[in-house]
């Protein structure tokens, strides 16, 4: 096994996914298969090769430091499930 159920539970928790028992079972099996497949890459000798960070062979996509019009408070909040004055409202965060 490449992955244990407890690790799948951990990953699900980090992603805030509430999975049922049977889902955890199935996902553990599927993820195990995926990892076994990807494992094939380990057969390659990657000594001295820079890790790929991007799929496109390109670098330095920049923009100049020039202000562009924002979309505005009303538009920004237009999809907010809950708002108060100019702010999004989320369940109380206690620090």
């Amino acid at each position: 096994m490449k992955i244990q159920r407890i690790e799948v539970e951990q990953v699900a928790r980090l992603a805030r996914l509430a999975l049922q028992d049977d889902e955890l079972e199935a996902l553990t099996e599927q993820m195990d298969q995926l990892l076994a497949y990807v494992e094939k890459l380990n057969e390659l000798d990657t000594e001295g090769i820079i890790p790929t960070a991007h799929a496109v062979p390109m670098e330095n996509a920049f923009r100049a430091d020039e202000i562009k019009a924002s979309i505005g408070t009303e538009k920004a909040l237009s999809n907010a499930p809950q708002r108060e004055e100019s702010c999004f409202v989320v369940p109380k965060v206690i620090e």
Partner: protein, 480 residues
């Protein structure tokens, strides 16, 4: 501070960059605007939006790296730092992880002008800021995303500091540098320069580091010192009782001067960094680096050294003058016009900075440009006025904006160096104070000061003090 344990401090400083726009979008970064008015699909984290790197922010990062003796990475990568928090709209923060833009730097700190101590800088990386959570709303917590995606540099030090004072000195130096570089407004209260402190203790002689606590939420140098000192006591007490330090994040509470555990974030410490597929690698070539290097201003450390070694100023003066770039440039301009460094230093530190402080003003708003002050100092130098009168003229110049000569003429402050006139005054004073004359002749030479004071007062401060002294001594001596 406890003497049983060695204190080990490492600092993480978030420096908010003064670019006009955010790091990955063209929204403005102005502080204090209507909540969520400076937002767009990129910084709101809407699906499908594409972040594009602000070139100016990269340039600022290079400046910071060069000024702190870092190596600038020829190739660096942006990564996603994954965690959920309501101030983070995308569910991840774009940061740098394995390949930061700057590494392996240092700063020398100099407590009490003794041996400088070198503090290592592990890395400087670029990242976006999160939004702001406002508590105390009726329905829940409010979220303002104006700050989301604002460019930050995170400057991570080695755990090289051994006391709160060293930590503060390092922070002040770093603060001066980013201000000199013009990359940060340095406002601690508004959060433009934020510090997290990692504090741990270990028995003296132990190489291994103790378990650390991370102190957050500290927005002044004084509070940082307070927070570290409180934390050192807290940990020492636990260790004394045979307890164990828990690795955790603690919040500083300014009201009580204590730190308290910030529970809940511990389990989320698995950030699962991976390269952000939205951003291509950042490549910085030597020409770019050298171009930035050529534009760097003279930095505080170099200024202090020059003031001490070339201008012969005391270390204290050099420290005060170099602390703020605008003050140092004022002083440099003054010395260029009036090449008597110590006199210039005395006037800048004594009069200019005092007057600015009284008026709660800053050097950029100083009504007396260096050339005006230089012309005043020139009048002391050529004996037109005494140092004391010069301070009076200084005040008048400050108030009216008029030139030194104009005020000296208008108010008739020109120093009297006419020995005939002074002799007349001296004779009057001696005649009116025969008892003191007897004392002087009886051997009490301290009375001379009394006579000088009387003559100066009679001349309304305008008599040349050196001449008064000389004439007094002659007259008192000649009658004995």
């Amino acid at each position: 501070m406890h003497s049983r344990y060695e204190v080990v401090i490492g600092l993480e400083v978030h420096v908010q960059l003064t670019t006009k726009t955010k790091i990955f979008c063209g929204c403005a970064t102005a502080f204090g605007r209507q909540p969520n008015s400076q937002t767009c699909p990129v910084c709101l984290g809407l699906p499908g939006a594409l972040p594009v790197l602000n070139q100016q922010a990269v340039e600022y990062a290079i400046r910071a790296g060069l000024a702190t003796h870092c190596t600038i990475a020829p190739r660096s990568i942006f990564a996603r730092k994954n965690y959920f928090y309501p101030d983070l709209p995308k569910g991840y923060q774009i940061s740098q992880f394995e390949l930061p833009v700057c590494e392996h730097g240092w700063l020398d700190i100099d407590l009490n002008h003794k041996e400088p101590k070198r503090i290592g800088i592990t890395r400087i990386h670029m990242e976006e800021d999160a939004g702001k959570l406002l508590h105390g709303g009726t329905a829940g917590s409010r979220v303002d995303l104006n700050r989301a995606c604002t460019p930050l540099l995170e400057v991570v030090s080695e755990p090289d500091m051994r006391s709160a004072d060293e930590a503060i000195e390092y922070l002040k130096q770093l603060h001066q540098i980013v201000m000199y570089l013009g990359i940060c407004d340095g406002n601690l209260e508004e959060g433009s320069f934020r510090c997290d402190a990692n504090v741990s203790l270990r028995p003296f002689g132990q190489a291994e580091l103790g378990t650390r606590a991370e102190l957050k939420n500290i927005n002044s140098f004084r509070f940082i010192k307070q927070a570290i000192e409180y934390e050192v006591e807290r940990q020492a007490d636990i260790l004394d009782e045979g307890g164990k330090i828990i690795q955790e994040t603690r919040l500083f509470d300014a009201d009580s001067g204590t730190t308290r555990s910030m529970r809940g974030k511990e389990e989320a410490h698995d950030y699962r960094y991976f390269p952000d597929p939205d951003l291509v690698p950042l490549v910085i070539d030597a020409a770019w680096i050298e171009g930035v290097r050529a534009e760097l201003p003279e930095l505080p450390e170099a200024k202090r050294q020059r003031y001490i070694e070339q201008l012969g100023l005391p270390a204290y003066d050099a420290g005060v003058l170099a602390a703020e770039r605008a003050v140092a440039e004022y002083f440099d301009a003054l010395v260029a016009l009036h090449p008597q460094a110590k006199i210039c230093s005395n006037w800048v530190m004594g009069e200019v900075l005092r007057a600015l402080k009284e008026k709660e003003s800053s050097i950029s708003a100083c009504p007396l440009p260096p050339a005006a002050l230089a012309s005043l100092l020139q009048r002391i130098d050529d004996n037109t006025i005494s140092n004391k009168i010069a301070k009076q003229v200084f005040e008048a110049m400050w108030q009216s904006g008029a030139g030194a000569d104009e005020i000296i003429d208008q108010q008739g402050l020109k120093q009297v160096s006419d020995s005939g006139a002074i002799e007349g005054l001296v004779d009057e004073i001696l005649a009116a104070n025969s008892a003191q004359v007897e004392q002087y002749r009886g051997g009490n030479e301290k009375v001379l000061g009394f006579f000088v004071g009387q003559v100066m007062r009679a001349s309304k401060g305008k008599a040349n003090p050196a001449l008064v002294n000389q004439i007094l001594q002659n007259k008192l001596g000649s009658r004995s």
